[in-house]
């Protein structure tokens, strides 16, 4: 009987409760004989085969021993912390390129500030263009990070564990990028503080009737809460990092660990806080994109003025967010060498979610188009004609192809979901499609307004193109830069998962009884005094 190698334990968590592997074992005599040992026949990366082997009953699904668990912990810590501390030339080059891209954003922005916003291609009647498109896009991308992570946590989906950190970080970074756009698109950005409710002698406040103020509030709330959402579960990991590093890093991590010693009480509070927070952040996330949609839906413009807009935007945001998450995870996994922890199984599952979301999104999209088409409102009708047959048709059809047909005809297949190159292509295409969808919404309704005399067109200006493009560099840059500072896999959660799994399949042994309620990973047991000092 073969033992399942340690590194291959991970995918097990990814199995849903219904897929009780090993519950229906093949009779012992019929099982093929598999040699024991670490990765001897299943090298790293062959997770799929291991799973298949387990499923076929070729190998036995044996939980790790305590000692093995500790080995696994150490291996995980090693991989993650190594990726944090090692800076190779390839990394530097990448960071340099992306940094330069980020700089070009600010360069173009400065140029625009000094020349006047007119260097952008926006005009009358297309007052909003690439900037607001990018804004909606990035806010959309920011969605799924937190939302997916929160939903998976709430549903207690075990395979989430290695993914949550990356997802939450994605939220924060894309929010940081997205939140730039309301500033970039201002005619007089140096007066942006007018929007902030600060006490002043004229007793002038921002207009709380304006959806833009709602936006400001929503985005700031979301930014704060998703930063916390990222940070909170990172505290134990910070402590781990503190204990495994030296010098300045150690000090910084020490501060960030907030005096984490791994005491019962601390674990208890962390878990409680996470439980509450996870639930609370879901409505926040939903409301943020609803509010972004209300920027449009609260107007009189045909094509924007629609009741379905809030859910449509939210689902669109989740759609592009999940796609972005997959893309990002594929690259992060590769870049940080996390193949053992983020496996094809994850992409398989995320692919399924993506498929489901794409179908819901298509449903709403279809409802929107259909009602516009049949509504009898001539401007709505014109708008749809512009999209479907007119000047915007290439974009529109591209969007339909990659956002409706592409996922539907590919993601049903496990082979596709498990093929990383295919997933990269699909998810990137989906996000291109989603960007275009936002573009069609933002620009389309302005191009076709109530007065045909003022129907316009729009060609983006060069600064707009640079800025919209450079945001991708900036997003990647944030990711790349912070990958050297943050553990991109939640160490303690993964470790916790392993133990939970072990107990679940094996029952709890005597010596572990007291920690059943609050599972406690073995790894981050700091030398208390030092940690306390560093934290204070």
């Amino acid at each position: 009987m073969a033992r399942l190698p340690n590194w291959a334990r991970l995918p097990r968590y990814s199995r849903g409760p219904t897929r009780g592997l090993g519950h229906d074992p093949v009779p012992e005599a019929e099982r093929p004989l598999v040699r024991q040992g670490h990765g001897e026949e299943f090298g790293p990366g062959s997770v799929l085969e291991v799973q298949d082997a387990v499923a076929d009953g070729r190998i036995e699904d044996v939980p790790p021993t305590e000692q093995e668990l500790e080995e696994m912990d150490a291996a995980l810590d090693g991989v993650v912390l190594r990726s944090m501390t090692r800076i190779g030339p390839g990394y530097l080059l990448l960071a340099l390129v992306l940094g330069f891209g980020t700089l070009s954003l600010f360069g173009a922005w400065l140029y625009q500030i000094f020349q006047g916003i007119g260097v952008a291609g926006i005009n009358r009647p297309v007052f909003w263009g690439f900037y607001i498109t990018s804004f909606v896009f990035w806010i959309g991308v920011s969605h799924s990070g937190t939302l997916i992570s929160a939903i998976l946590r709430v549903l207690n989906v075990e395979w989430r564990r290695p993914l949550t950190r990356g997802a939450e970080a994605m939220t924060l970074f894309s929010l940081m990028v997205g939140a730039l756009f309301p500033l970039i698109h201002l005619g007089r950005v140096w007066k942006f503080y007018f929007m902030i409710p600060y006490p002043n002698v004229r007793e002038l406040w921002p207009n709380f009737h304006s959806a833009l103020v709602w936006d400001l509030v929503a985005i700031l709330t979301y930014m704060t809460s998703s930063a916390l959402f990222l940070f909170m579960p990172m505290i134990p990991d910070m402590a781990t990092a503190r204990d495994r590093t030296t010098g300045i890093r150690r000090r910084v991590y020490g501060v960030l660990a907030l005096g984490w010693r791994g005491s019962q009480q601390q674990w208890h509070r962390l878990h409680l806080a996470m439980k509450v927070y996870t639930i609370v952040i879901i409505p926040v996330a939903v409301s943020v994109h609803s509010i972004v949609s209300w920027d449009f839906a609260m107007t009189t413009n045909e094509g924007w003025h629609s009741t379905i807009f809030a859910p449509y935007f939210v689902i669109g945001a989740i759609y592009s967010g999940v796609a972005a998450l997959i893309t990002v995870l594929i690259f992060v996994r590769r870049g940080l060498g996390l193949q053992e922890y983020i496996t094809k199984f994850h992409f398989d599952r995320l692919g399924l979610i993506l498929l489901a979301v794409s179908v819901i999104w298509f449903y709403m999209f279809f409802a929107q188009v259909l009602t516009n088409w049949y509504g009898g409102n001539p401007v709505d009708r014109e708008l749809e004609e512009l999209h479907i047959f007119g000047a915007m048709a290439p974009l529109w059809w591209f969007m339909v192809a990659v956002n409706v047909f592409l996922p539907f005809f590919t993601l049903w297949f496990k082979r596709v979901r498990r093929s990383l190159p295919a997933m990269v292509v699909i998810t990137v295409l989906i996000n291109m499609g989603m960007w275009i969808e936002r573009y069609l919404i933002v620009v389309g309704s302005n191009v076709r307004n109530h007065l045909p005399f003022d129907w316009g067109d729009y060609t983006p200006g060069i600064p707009e193109i640079i800025i919209a493009g450079a945001t991708f560099a900036m997003f990647a840059f944030l990711y790349v830069a912070l990958s050297k500072a943050l553990p991109f896999v939640s160490l303690w959660e993964v470790k916790e998962g392993w133990r939970l799994d072990k107990w679940r399949t094996q029952g709890i042994s005597e010596e572990e009884t007291e920690s059943v309620e609050e599972p406690q990973p073995a790894a981050p047991l700091p030398s208390t005094s030092e940690a306390g000092e560093a934290a204070t």
């Binding site: 004229r202 109530h450 045909p452 005399f453 003022d454 129907w455 067109d457």
Partner: protein, 741 residues
């Protein structure tokens, strides 16, 4: 001791806070807190910077002669308004009139006298007035009658000074005031027709307001023709009458006048006269002619075959009959022979045909009058003659033949405004001294002038004007400086007087005035004496005292009679009122007739240096800042052209490349182009912009009238394959009527 802060209390407090927050937020709404918001809002506009001072004056942006008010503060003019009491403008002003501010404060004005120290065409060198005037005086003394004066637009008082100057120099010429804008107005031809039909060689007075049915025969009277503000007011009265008066436009291009007309008939260019004949014949057939019509008038329409003609002209016969009935049955019908007719060699007959139609329906003395004579007296006699194309052509020819040594370009730009085919450029090379007096660096000045003595704009100088065509009130409008001169310039009359003084006799004798002011004042004196002697006491100014009269003349913006004076028309039935089709029909390889029209805002190009005029859209196409060629949609489809495609428009004498505007209102046999752009110089806003469409014109005369048949050039259209988006205010091609409008 700290008060104990319990959980319950916390919740209570936070609930209160939340409530306060809600209140606070809603308190920030505009409605509730308006009192605080509004003062901030009003800050700039609430501060009254001072009190405006208004000066009356005379608009010189077109020849119509509206009285204006100049609103000034701190010696700067900041708005022009119509003078509410002035008979022509009555408080209104057209688009061009409004833009006078950009003439005086134009950043490209010539700021000092300039003299050419090297080749013509090289940059000028600045000089002083003393030197400049000395050169001019020298030129005057030397010219020995070999002197000529050209202008595109000359204020009344300067015309008289200029005429005297020529006289004094022994030149037999009159000042030439001619360009394509003038030609398109067709003043001369209209006066001649009036002489034949209405009995006096003056412009007719079209009382549009008193009419109830108007047919305009190619008269863009709501755009640029003759006196647009006056006519627009008439149009409003026509529409607002007890029964809404109708307007029918007969013209080949759908101008904005035709667009506001109830019906538009579009015969081929040059066939508008035939439409008058058809209408007349239908009216006769239906026995709808006026009972008091001169009986001979019937003969004019006798052998018109209405159906055939209508078919030949491509008109809907039913529609024509309907129009004819409506017209003849109206209480007060009026047919207007417009300047557009003057572009064809059959113009005199066509105008007579239209006036004959007026006779037929009894328009004379009901809606059709003659303009009253101006307030009589010495310097105020009407201009003896208006220049014709032949005069201008003769001048250019004499210049070319070396018979002109001194050319004074008083105000205008002959190089730009005269068609290339007239050969001004070559002719100018033969003139020894060319002096330009424009306030602006015109093409002529930059390329040819040897001396540029910049004159004031009209808001800086004195003057007077007799509007032509005037209203039923006899008028002499006052022009006075409203602001001090912006630059080191002088008024045109002053320059001429000073030069005459320097040149000595005979100039000094014929131009004895010290300055423009004395001249104007003396003219007003003369007028007052004439008024006294003619016992016209019922004018707008009731004083007899000369001092007070002059004061009030300036204060009210002029003198006008208090009673309407509509000289009786004694119609005679014209001889030849049967226009032949234009001689020049489509030529081999040039299938489109070129319809050139004065730009509503740029006119012939005078206003191309004013940003307001450049940026205000031409009403039908909404194009700004550019030249374009209007092409019929069917033709455009055949030639596979769309709006913005650049085509080569070529006539026998020239070719230009312009973007296409696919236009609903032009027939398939013609293409239309506005005048106005294509300057070589003329300041930063005009130079190098668009094309000069008059350069395409061939020089065909209208019979023996000496006028230019400016509508009879035929062109070819060739696609270049290039495309440039037109600068226009309409943002799309699809501007069909939406619902809810």
């Amino acid at each position: 001791m700290m008060p104990k802060f319990t959980r319950r209390e916390f919740l209570k407090k936070s609930r209160m806070l939340a409530a306060a927050g809600t209140l606070g937020l809603s308190g920030c709404g505009a409605r509730d807190d308006q009192a605080r918001l509004v003062p901030f809002l009003q800050t700039p506009e609430e501060q009254v910077a001072g009190t405006f001072t208004y000066f009356t004056s005379l608009c010189q942006m077109c020849p119509a002669g509206c009285g204006i008010l100049v609103r000034t503060m701190n010696g700067r003019a900041n708005k022009l308004e119509g003078n509410p009491q002035h008979p022509v403008s009555q408080g209104r002003l057209c688009a061009r009139g409004q833009a006078g501010l950009q003439a005086i404060y134009n950043p490209d004005r010539v700021q000092t006298p300039q003299v050419r120290t090297n080749e013509r065409g090289d940059p000028f060198a600045p000089t002083t007035w003393d030197e400049g005037l000395a050169i001019l005086a020298e030129g005057l003394s030397q010219s020995q009658g070999r002197m000529a004066i050209y202008s595109g637009h000359l204020p009344d008082h300067v015309y008289r000074v200029a005429a005297r100057l020529l006289d004094a120099g022994g030149s037999a010429r009159r000042p030439i005031v001619w360009n394509l804008y003038r030609a398109a107005e067709g003043r001369n031809l209209l006066q001649q027709a009036a002489a034949e039909v209405l009995g006096a060689e003056r412009l007719p007075l079209f009382d549009i307001g008193a009419a109830t049915a108007v047919i305009s025969f190619n008269a863009g009277f709501l755009e640029t023709w003759l006196s647009p503000v006056q006519y627009a007011r008439g149009f409003a009265e026509l529409r607002k009458g007890a029964t809404r008066g109708s307007l029918v436009a007969v013209e080949p291009r759908l101008s904005s006048t035709a667009a506001v007309a109830d019906e538009w008939l579009s015969p081929p260019g040059g066939r508008e006269g035939d439409v008058a004949l058809i209408l007349g014949r239908i009216i006769l057939d239906e026995r709808l002619g006026a009972s008091d019509r001169p009986s001979e008038v019937d003969a004019i329409f006798a052998d018109v075959s209405v159906r055939d003609s209508a078919q030949e002209l491509g008109l809907d016969f039913e529609q024509v009959v309907r129009i004819a009935r409506g017209f003849a049955q109206a209480d007060a019908p009026l047919a207007i022979p417009g300047g557009g007719l003057s572009g064809f060699d059959n113009a005199p007959a066509a105008m007579r045909a239209v006036l004959a139609l007026d006779l037929l329906v009894g328009a004379p003395n009901r809606t059709l009058f003659l303009t009253p004579p101006p307030p009589a007296g010495g310097e105020l006699d009407p201009r003896e003659e208006v220049s014709s194309y032949a005069d201008a052509a003769a001048l250019v020819e004499e210049m070319g033949a070396g018979q002109v040594d001194l050319l004074l370009v008083l105000d205008g730009d002959p190089y730009h405004d005269l068609p290339q085919a007239m050969g001004f450029a070559d002719a100018a090379a033969q003139v020894l001294l060319i002096v330009d007096f424009s306030p602006f660096p015109t093409d002529t000045s930059v390329l040819f002038a040897d001396l540029h003595l910049p004159q004031h704009t009209y808001l800086e100088s004195w003057g007077f004007g007799v509007p032509e065509p005037g209203t039923a009130l006899r008028t002499m409008t006052a022009q006075q400086p409203a602001v001090p001169p912006v630059f080191d310039t002088r008024s045109l009359a002053d320059i001429l007087f000073a030069a005459a003084r320097l040149a000595g006799p005979p100039y000094a004798d014929r131009l004895p005035w010290e300055d423009e002011f004395t001249y104007v004042r003396q003219s007003v004196e003369t007028m007052q004496q004439a008024l006294n002697s003619q016992q016209i006491q019922t004018g707008s100014i009731l004083t007899n005292n000369l001092e007070n009269f002059f004061f009030e003349w300036r204060q009210f913006g002029g003198w006008w009679s208090a009673q309407e004076d509509r000289p009786e028309v004694s119609p005679t039935v014209p001889q030849n009122a049967r226009p032949e089709p234009p001689v020049r029909l489509a030529e081999e390889g040039r299938p489109f007739r070129l319809q050139i029209y004065p730009h509503l805002l740029l006119a012939e190009g005078r206003h191309a240096n004013k940003t307001w005029m450049q940026e205000t859209p031409e009403p039908m196409t909404t194009v700004v800042w550019q030249s374009w060629v209007e092409i019929n949609p069917q033709v455009a489809e055949e030639l596979e052209l769309e709006t913005g495609d650049i085509v080569r428009v070529a006539s026998a004498v020239g070719e230009v490349e312009v973007p296409v505007y696919v236009f609903q209102g032009i027939g398939p046999d013609a293409v239309a182009m506005p005048m106005g752009q294509g300057h070589v110089a003329y300041g930063r806003y005009a130079s190098g912009r668009g094309v000069n469409t008059v350069d395409l014109l061939e020089m065909t005369e209208v019979g023996d009238t000496g006028e230019l048949a400016w509508g009879s050039t035929w062109v070819s259209i060739e696609k270049t394959g290039e495309h440039e988006p037109l600068a226009r205010i309409e943002r799309s091609d699809a501007t069909e009527m939406p619902t809810g409008i």
